[in-house]
Structure formats: C-alpha cells, structure tokens
C-alpha cells in the first residue's frame, strides 16, 4: 500500500519550509556570534555533562514550563499542555506508526495522518492491553490533554485574571493568523480522526471512536469524502501554521531551545547586538508576564513594556522614546519565564542611538577655573577605607553626615573621595548608552581610589555600587554602606542603643535585583528596628520611579510610579520608611506621609548620645518613633 495522498502536501511543504527557515536563522545567529562565543559553543558540545544539563533545561522550561507554573499554576498547565502534549503526540505518533509500518523510516506525514491510512480492526474493549490498543488510548489521551489546554487558552482570552495576568500582550495581524491556525490544528485532528473512526467503525480510541460513533448516530453519512475533507482541513491548518511560524511569536518554540544551549555554553549578552541578541528577541513568546510587573503601568504608559520593546526590535522599528522609556529596574527580567535579559537588550538599543555623540571630559585632567581647583582633588589622603558618597548622596547630606559619624565612631581610618563634589561614577552615562564616554570618568575615579591605598571602597549609592562592581575591575573590595555597617555592627564596633518600631524597607533596584544585595540591609535593620512586612519586596520590589534609567517619563508619571510604590510599602502602616539609596529616598520623600530614612541615618540615630544625624526637619520628630 502506498501511504500517500494529495492532502498531505500542505503539511509536508509547510514542514519543509519551517525546517529550512529555522535552520537558516540558527545558522545566521551562530555565524554572527563573536569568535569567543563560538569557541564556548563548540567546547560545550565536547562536554556531555553540559549538553545533558542543557537538555534537562529544555525539558523543564520548553516542555514543562516550570517557571510558568511558578507564576501561576493555571498558566503553567496551559503552556505545558500545548508544549508537552504536542511533543508527546509527535513522539508517540511516531512510535505508533513504526508498529504499523514495521520500519524505522517513515515519511514525516505518515505518523501525522496515520489514522487516515490505517483503519485497524481490533476489538474496542480491553484493547488497551494490546500494543495498537495502547497507542490508540495514549494518543487520544494526549489529544485530550492538548485540547484541555486549548480550552484554557480560549478562556484566557476573556478571563486573563484567572491566569494571574491583569493585562496580556496585544496582537499583530500575523499573530492572529498564526493563533487561529494553532487553535484549529487540534480540533481538526479530533474531527478528522473521529469522522474516520466513525465511518469505518473502528480505528479510534476512547475519545475519537466514541465521538465518531456519536456522529454516525446523529447524522449517518455514507460518503468517505466527509472525513477526507477533514483530513484536508487538518493538513491545511498545519501547513499554514508552519509557514507563518517564522514570522510570528511562535518562532519562540524552536528559538528557546537554541537560547538554552547558548546560555549553558556560557554565552552572555554583549554590549552590541549579536546572534545571541537575535536568539533572545526571537525567543520572546509574548506571554505578557512582563506587562503586569512593569511599574510603567502605574503611570499609564502601556506601549513601552519589555514585550513591546522586544517586538519592536524584531520588527526593526523601535521609536527612540520607547527605547528610553524604561526604568531598567529589572522587574521584567526577574519575572520573564524565558529568562531574557530585557535590560541589556534595551541598553544595546540605546547604545546604537547615541553612537555618534561625543562628550568632552578633558576638564578632568586639567586644573579648571571652577570653584574647586582640581589639582587638590588628585591627591587623596591615604586611608584604609575609601568612601564614595556618590552624586545623589550629595543631595541627601544626612546620609553623608551619618556615614561620617558611623565611621568615626568605629575608629576607622577613612577618606571621602568626593568630599568637594563628585565626578560621576559613570553609570548614568552608561544607561544612556554612552559607555565609551563613561570610561573616561571611570578612569578618573579608579585612579582616585587607587591613590588612597584603601583596601575597601564603600559607597552610599547603589548605582555607584553596581558600576564599581561590574565595570571598574578594581583590585579593592567594594561594599555598599549597608553591608559595610552590618560588618561594623557584627564586629561590635558600633554600639546600638535605640530601637525603632515599625520600619518598612524598600529594596533599591540597583542594590537588590541589580546587585543581589537583599539580606545585608534587612539583617542590619532587624538589629535596630522591627521590620514590617511589605507586600512586594526583594526580587519583586517596586521601583521608586526616580530611576536614572528612564529618560522620557515626565515628572507627573514619575510621581505616579512613586505613589504606587508607596501604597505597597506603607500598606502595613510603618512609622518610618527605610531605604538604602539616596535616589529612592529623595523620590519618596516628596510624597511619603511618613519620614523616609536611609539605613545609615537609622543606624546613626540608634547609636548612643544621639546627635541626630537625620535631616534637621525630621530629626525633631525622630524621638517620636524611637523607643
């Protein structure tokens, strides 16, 4: 028997096309990787362990959707039923077809349309225990599994809240076409198999046979063209889905697999667009998880979220304002089920935007006619600890004052690098995309630090902390002041007396998600205060809205974001709002009904002989919350 019929052609051609399209993309991306990354990739394939680990992640993420489950079980089940269900249908269908053909090599369409070619006449009851019967049962079960996911997907369109999503990504026309095809595939398969099983009176499993028998009872048809046309329909939607796949969000299905291998090979995002960025952009499934977590929603900005930005990158059209409309708070990155580096993609785009623009920091080298002569700044005093307050801390003098008192109290030999005003750490330029220009400032600061001979660099600003750690390559230890003070308290160098009631802690983005410092500030605070719970904290903390990462938001929009973050922080009525970032402090202080204090201020206030460290206006009231 020749197992071929004209109707397999749409599917078969679609399959050939999609395999070719995916292969071409993969080849291009791998070719455009930097040489070092190519080496990483080839080295990985020589280590079976790494390959196995990558395959394991492919199973847990691309098939089981573990991270989706974590976000919401219903959402996880929906994605899993499609991915795992379809995958198992393919695998089991293949095994089943081998049983019938007795050959390992079958045409790719043979297993897909097996029930058209084979109408096995076996007893229906107790057939589960025979090999073909078992396969029929299994295939029907898997089809039911996928269909259950399909029903959920339809429900999700109307009731996304049940899936833990307040907002979902908006569709483009191509997505609608592709989605329609995808949604039709499995019902078409069900109909084709059922009608065939009903017409021949055999060959189906518990689902398809029962449905087929029902159809035959309700409307007994005598023409085999009815099931035949169903098979045509099934093949057409499959073919159309495959042909549209490379141009729609469903390209994430094959791309995520490649991306997982890239990551296991140790390939990391680069400063410029590379094959890795391509893989990240195409691996975005537009599931929309990043939309809800984005603080921009609070300001009514709905077109700049990671999903839309990445879609813009893919369509090669991102408005300049959208590239710059991002706090770089890292919340979407934390939530992304595919683990995309949304922030670094945004930065890549920003770098492209400003690539032709120059800066001139030649004044760093020469003495300037400014208020402070630069020569004096070049020779910092030798000290054990170099303290870099940071630009923002200069706007919150209470933080610097507290730090000085704490260091004096602890008997540390310290020197402040930016006592007369600071040369910026460089990160504000970097978030604008001006990395090369920032390097001049970094060079200056680096020399300043080295000149002190210090072994420890302490900074009060998480923005500085992050860039010192990530980009400076300093041979000294770098600590944020929350870590530094905690060490001092632990070694008993700072006596603490007062204890505050009800303090809520806000995680600054660059300290928490940006640098992974969550515990030190909390541990420190519990020594001097009772921490109240905050609804969204640590990894999921809201951005204060003051971020330097965003350029195009108006002041009103920033205020809206700050207000929303404050709502969450003040939910449990804290008496003081503590943070560890001068920028967060400054942003919240404008709107907060309770005093906003830096950790350093609180520690300073908790020390004996309270020479109140906090800003004068609030220090008078300090006694009221200290107990």
């Amino acid at each position: 028997m020749i197992n071929f019929n004209l109707f397999v052609l749409p599917f078969f051609l679609g399959l050939i096309y999609v395999v070719f399209a995916i292969g071409r993309s993969w080849y291009r991306w791998i070719r455009s990787l930097p040489a070092s990354d190519k080496v990483r990739l080839t080295t990985m394939f020589r280590q079976p362990r790494q390959v196995l680990l990558a395959l394991g992640e492919v199973c847990t993420e691309a098939l089981l959707h573990r991270r989706m489950w974590k976000r919401n079980p219903l959402l996880g089940y929906m994605h899993m039923s499609f991915a795992l269900g379809w995958f198992l249908l393919i695998v089991c269908g293949n095994l089943e077809s081998r049983y019938y053909s007795g050959s390992h090599l079958n045409a790719p369409y043979y297993p897909i349309f097996l029930k058209f070619f084979i109408h096995d006449r076996l007893v229906i009851f107790f057939e589960v225990f025979s090999v073909p019967g078992f396969f029929r049962f299994l295939m029907d079960l898997l089809l039911l599994f996928v269909l259950s996911g399909l029903v959920l997907a339809m429900v999700k369109r109307k009731r996304s809240k049940w899936f833990g999503l307040k907002r979902t990504a908006e569709f483009q026309l191509t997505d609608v076409v592709s989605l329609t095809c995808l949604w039709l595939i499995f019902p078409m398969r069900l109909l084709a198999e059922s009608f065939t099983a009903g017409y021949y009176g055999s060959g189906g499993g518990f689902l398809t046979q029962s449905l087929g028998n029902l159809v035959m009872t309700v409307m007994p048809f005598t023409s085999e063209y009815i099931p035949y046309s169903m098979w045509w329909g099934y093949s057409l939607v499959l073919g159309l889905f495959f042909i549209t796949l490379p141009y729609t969000r469903y390209m994430h299905i094959p791309t995520e697999v490649l991306l997982i291998f890239f990551r296991h090979a140790g390939i990391r995002p680069k400063k410029w667009y590379s094959g890795f960025s391509d893989a990240e952009v195409l691996a975005c499934s537009r599931c929309g998880v990043c939309i809800d977590v984005c603080p921009l929603n609070e300001a009514g900005i709905v077109d700049a979220q990671a999903v839309y930005f990445i879609r813009g990158l893919r369509d090669q059209y991102v408005p300049e304002s959208v590239s710059r409309m991002c706090l770089l708070c890292g919340r979407c990155q934390e939530a992304c089920p595919v683990g995309l580096h949304t922030d670094s993609l945004r930065l890549i785009k920003r770098r492209e935007l400003v690539s032709g623009q120059e800066t001139d920091f030649s004044w760093l080298a020469s003495a300037a006619p400014g208020p402070v002569a630069l020569e004096t700044r070049h020779i910092p005093r030798q000290a054990e600890v170099a303290y870099f307050a940071g630009c923002m801390s200069h706007l919150t003098p209470a933080v610097i004052r507290s730090m000085r008192r704490i260091m004096d109290q602890a008997g540390i030999n310290w020197v402040q690098l930016d006592e007369d005003g600071s040369v910026c750490c460089g990160r504000p330029l970097m978030v604008a995309g001006k990395d090369t220009q920032a390097s001049q400032l970094m060079e200056f600061n680096k020399n300043q630090v080295l000149a002190t001979g210090a072994r420890l660099l302490v900074t009060s600003c998480p923005i500085c902390y992050r860039v010192f750690r990530e980009d400076y390559n300093l041979p000294v230890r770098i600590q944020h002041h929350s870590q530094f003070i905690l060490d001092l308290v632990k070694t008993g160098k700072i006596p603490l007396q007062a204890h505050f009631r009800k303090v809520a802690y806000h995680d600054p983005c660059d300290l928490g998600r940006g640098s992974g410092v969550y515990e030190a500030p909390r541990e420190l605070l519990t020594k001097i205060a009772d921490l109240v719970e905050v609804g969204q904290d640590a990894h999921n903390a809201q951005c204060c809205g003051g971020s330097l990462g965003i350029f195009t938001a108006t002041q009103e929009q920033r205020n809206d974001m700050a207000a929303a973050a404050l709502d969450v922080l003040l939910e449990n009525q804290p008496e003081v709002l503590a943070t560890a970032c001068p920028l967060c402090k400054k942003t919240f202080a404008k709107q907060s009904p309770v005093p906003v204090k830096d950790i350093a201020e609180l520690v300073c206030d908790a020390m004996p002989n309270p020479v109140y460290c906090s800003a004068s206006g609030q220090s008078r009231r300090a006694g009221s919350y200290a107990t």
Binding site: V354, D360, M392, G421, F551
Partner: protein
Amino acid sequence: MIHFGYGVMADATTDYDRNDRRIAEYLLEHEPSVNLCIGCGSCTAACSTGRMVEFNIRRLHTLIRRGETLKLKKEIMKCMFCGKCQLVCPRGVNLRNVILTINRALEQTG
C-alpha cells in the same frame, strides 16, 4: 539701523529674526517640559560638573534660544549625566532627556 550716537558690539547682538531656531524647535517638540523652566538656577547650583569646571546648565537654555549652536555643542559635551539637576528642579523639567534631545538635534542640524 537708527543712529543712537553710540556703537553696538557686533558679536554681542542676537538677531532674533535671523537666528537658528532649529534646535529650540526640535527640543520643544521632543521634550516639551523644557518650557516649564523658570530659570531659577537650581540645576546649575546642584550640578556636579559645574562644581569643577565652568559649566552652566541653565545657560544652555539661553544658548539654545539665541541659536548659538557652536557654543552649545562645546558646552553640552561636559555633562556627566548624573541627574542631580533633574532631581532638584522645582518645575519637573526632564533635564537628562533635554541633554539627550539637544544632542540628537545637534546631530540632525549638522
């Protein structure tokens, strides 16, 4: 010109009928918050760069309105982008984006 009986230094005059308004117009279109500026000078007072070198961010506004593009180009390159100006601005002028937008305008006007 009417003869007033005294001279006017040529390089200090701004001919508002003939000056280059392209940057000002581009800026107003793309970052309208610049219109909120009352010229209080808080930005200049807070400026990290201005503390170490002759750099006056408030003055950029004047340069733009006068169309003094060359001077503007030279001045703007000194900015370190730290954002203190924006934080102290009582009017909510989006100063970091103002600088980026001026840069873009300078690129486009050549």
